[in-house]
């Protein structure tokens, strides 16, 4: 069964159409990579799925429930979805541990000791156990992004949305974040990732969606979309990526 089903999504910003009749289906345990140029609507799609941006048309179903219905409590929906941002968005006034336990303690009403034990375990697993009491500004970009992923995981989400999570990182720090996403896939996490890392998309994604001007122009297995694209716009995009040395 589809975990996430988006039908006919439309979003405008000041007369500019960002999402245009966009359809996307993600099955449980599936990893979908959304690729496309800047401004093609990748981030807006993820923000709409997480109800951070309001749709102008279309429906989004999560686990068969229509979450785009205005009567649905968005806070309840967001508890089931983890989101990671390009700029990490850690809370600078909270320690790593407090960043991670904020939602478990205040949203899921877990006792502090229990939430902290879980957070420390998650941190240990990604090799950041020693940073639990540090503040975000003492961490490298790669470490901050890994903490941000752990923070989203602490909510035990059904679905993870990763919005260009390596785009703000120095090249030598990209690997550690990608390794973590690879582990998530191995654990069976359902993920939608907007990305510029074509090599990684090819390796980790079950399906690649090429977005252009708010529409899915082409989608399918990575070998097909990235290897033998049928649409001229996909070919043009990939040619530019190859020229830039990113594939």
């Amino acid at each position: 069964m589809a975990l996430l089903r988006c039908r006919g999504l439309r979003k405008e910003f000041g007369g500019h159409v960002v999402l245009d009749h966009l359809d996307l289906t993600v099955a449980e345990h599936q990893v979908v990579a959304v690729i496309g140029a800047s401004g093609s609507g990748k981030s807006t799609l993820l923000r709409c799925v997480n109800l951070l941006d309001e749709l102008d048309d279309g429906t989004i179903e999560l686990d068969g429930e229509d979450i785009s219905d205005p009567r649905v409590d968005p806070d309840r929906v967001r508890r089931r979805i983890g989101m990671v941002f390009q700029a990490y968005n850690l809370f600078p006034h909270l320690s790593v541990l407090d960043n991670i336990t904020l939602a478990p303690r205040h949203v899921h009403r877990r006792v502090r000791a229990e939430a902290e034990a879980q957070a420390r375990e998650l941190l240990d697993r990604v090799g950041l156990g020693a940073k639990a009491d540090a503040y975000p500004d003492r961490l490298s970009g790669g470490q901050q992004q890994r903490v941000a992923i752990v923070r989203a995981l602490a909510n035990s989400p059904r679905l993870m949305l990763l919005d260009e999570v390596t785009s703000a990182l120095d090249p030598e720090l990209v690997g550690e974040v990608l390794a973590m996403i690879r582990d998530l896939k191995a654990d069976g996490m359902t993920m939608v990732l907007a990305t510029h890392e074509m090599g990684f998309a090819r390796e980790v994604a079950d399906e690649v969606c090429f977005l252009d001007a708010g529409r899915v122009v082409e989608s399918g297995p990575p070998e097909q979309v990235l290897g033998e694209p049928t649409q001229p716009r996909t070919r043009q995009f990939l040619r530019r990526i190859i020229e830039a040395g990113r594939l």
Binding site: R47, N50, L52, P74, D75, R76, R78, R79, I81, G82, M83, F85, A87, N89, L90, F91, P92, H93, L102, A103, H106, V107, D137, R151, A152, N155
Partner: protein
């Protein structure tokens, strides 16, 4: 450590020597220009034709000693009032600022009221608010009317609450929307986001201007004496009227500065710390 083993090159030694010479030269220039300006000032003031008379009526040590106890007891009122009003105005300002950020049509009256409050009390001169509360309100002859001092304190809280609300609001708005997005994406409600993510960052950021307003409040609390209570300045005025000598005012002024120094020092320290945090340390 390689740093300690490092033997500086000839070029570096020459540069260091040059910089040391420059430092000595700068200190000498600063010292001599300060001394020159100081001497000029002293000569200008003490050499003025009216200096002797001014010294007798403003800087009489005997009168200063006599006025000190009453001015000090007046200052005690300033201090107590300052503490109560500062706490009250900070709380009021924070509440008003948060009310102004509420979204949704249900909160329109609350928003409008909060906005109207900040416009009115930032525009209204403090003295008029004081007169309205300390002279006007008791005129209603209601049961259980608080003493004039409390009414004066309320006037100060109302006026300063308006300023502080705007400072808090600026702080709230300075927290980037990506922080809100991150908090909401974790499932936190608007209230939880405000409480745990926005306000802690906002308050830290505006602590220096908030404290600066508290320093200003310290001088304005004395205005309650217009309604009767005797603060330091009023005590000095009474002493002056008895002796026809202005020295008690100077005593009160010196005490005010002494009282302000710790508060200003704290403000500077907080500002410095905030600046260090901003730059990432």
């Amino acid at each position: 450590m390689t740093l300690l083993d490092h033997a500086p090159s000839k070029a570096q030694l020459r540069r260091s020597a040059y910089r040391r010479r420059q430092t000595v030269y700068s200190v000498l220039v600063a010292a001599s220009s300060t001394a020159a300006l100081g001497t000029l000032l002293v000569i200008a003031v003490t050499g003025a034709p009216g200096w002797d008379r001014v010294r007798r009526s403003f800087l009489d040590p005997e009168i200063a000693r006599d006025a000190l106890p009453t001015v000090l007891s007046g200052l005690w009122l300033n201090v107590r009032l300052l503490v109560c009003c500062a706490v009250g105005a900070l709380l009021l300002g924070l509440v008003i600022a948060v009310l102004r950020t509420l979204r949704g049509p249900v909160f329109f009256p609350v928003r409008a009221l909060a906005a109207g409050y900040t416009y009115t009390f930032r525009g209204l001169p403090l003295i008029i608010v004081l007169y309205l509360l300390t002279l006007g309100v008791p005129g209603l002859r209601l049961q259980g009317m608080p003493p004039v001092l409390v009414l004066g304190g309320i006037a100060l809280i109302l006026t300063y609450g308006g300023y502080l609300a705007e400072v808090f609001r600026a702080g709230i708005e300075s927290v980037h929307s990506s922080q809100l997005a991150a908090a909401r994406s974790l499932g936190l409600t608007y209230r939880q986001t405000m409480r745990h993510v926005v306000l802690p960052q906002a308050v830290r950021r505006v602590a220096p201007p908030l404290l600066n307003d508290v320093v200003a409040l310290q001088k304005d609390v004395g205005l309650v004496s217009l309604a009767g209570p005797i603060d330091a300045v009023r005590a000095a005025q009474i002493a002056t009227a008895q002796t026809f000598n202005y020295t008690p005012y100077v005593v009160a002024g010196v005490l005010f500065v002494l009282l302000a120094i710790p508060l200003i020092a704290v403000t500077d320290w907080v500002t410095l710390r905030a600046a260090r945090r901003q730059s990432g340390g």
